[in-house]
Symmetry: C2
DNA sequence: TCTAAAATGTAGCTAAGGCTACATTATGTA
DNA sequence: TACATAATGTAGCCTTAGCTACATTTTAGA
């Protein structure tokens, strides 16, 4: 027979259910914008480096097929991050440009911070790619403070 | 007319395409195990706190409906993380227990680390929920080193 | 013991984000 | 200029992870 439902074997701090639920909801929300962030950032980079962003280059950058890029671009266009015409280059809207700028800066801070902690560059780059999307402004500020020291 | 394809306006360090592609692939792979990690951790917590893990409690914990929990449990069972019988409690397999332990420890380190940097507790908890899945062993070790100081 | 309520399960939908295979459009060069 | 190749687009599939609505099984209490 199971323990009584109300029993709390508080031998270890157990995460608060409401806080964890809220946190996970937030994480899922963040995940929805992760793709947008990766794409606008890559588009901004490519535009700077090559004069324009093209589907093949994005696919190479993002490690997916051009079909996936196409599909995702349709959504991001629908959501106002970018504009594109068939067989033409891709352009960020002001909205997309703002997001790209934020992401680029945040990425740089996260990578620099990890490296400052002694994480090897390639691993820092790799981890940052996943971590950065979940770094809130407060946490980003804390990273920057630490870097400034 | 667009700039020549080979032009590199290297005014800013542009991320290496192969490294970024590999990093993003890794991030997507991590995302696939994120759900497993959240679930096994919640199941371990609940088992400790209440003697058994039930679907409603998991749903509450994870901030989703019981239907989603059910659906995901089927997958995790298929993948060998846990065992469950209809209308009965959920048990972690040794494989699931190992994963849960790793995740719990990693979570604690990440939260403590963020707090040590001056991030407020609730925000630390919230960010950690998203960040932890992307923290590699090397980065985790760096966090722990920093905490030890 | 019976039954209402709580818990669990199922059907069937949506959206994102992957993919392969194939079709179409641009483009550079012979 | 023509055409082979590269780039782009489309059709149609899969999996994950959400959801609502409804069905079934447990369980607790009268």
């Amino acid at each position: 027979m199971p323990l009584p439902k109300t029993a709390r074997a508080a031998s270890r701090p157990v995460r608060s259910a409401p806080l964890q639920a809220a946190s996970l909801r937030q994480t899922r929300r963040a995940h929805a914008t992760e793709t947008a962030e990766d794409y606008v950032e890559a588009i901004a980079d490519l535009t700077l480096a090559m004069g324009e962003a093209r589907v093949v280059d994005l696919a190479r950058r993002l490690g997916v097929t051009h079909v996936t890029v196409n599909h995702t671009l349709a959504r991001l266009q629908r959501e106002g991050y970018l504009s594109a015409l068939p067989y033409r280059a891709i352009f960020l809207t002001p909205h997309g440009q703002r997001l790209a700028k934020i992401c680029q800066q945040r990425h740089e801070v996260v990578v620099a911070f990890l490296q400052a902690l002694g994480v090897p560059p390639k691993i820092a780059e790799r981890d940052a790619e996943g971590i950065e999307h979940h770094v809130s402004p407060r946490t980003l500020a804390a990273f920057a403070r630490h870097l400034a020291q």
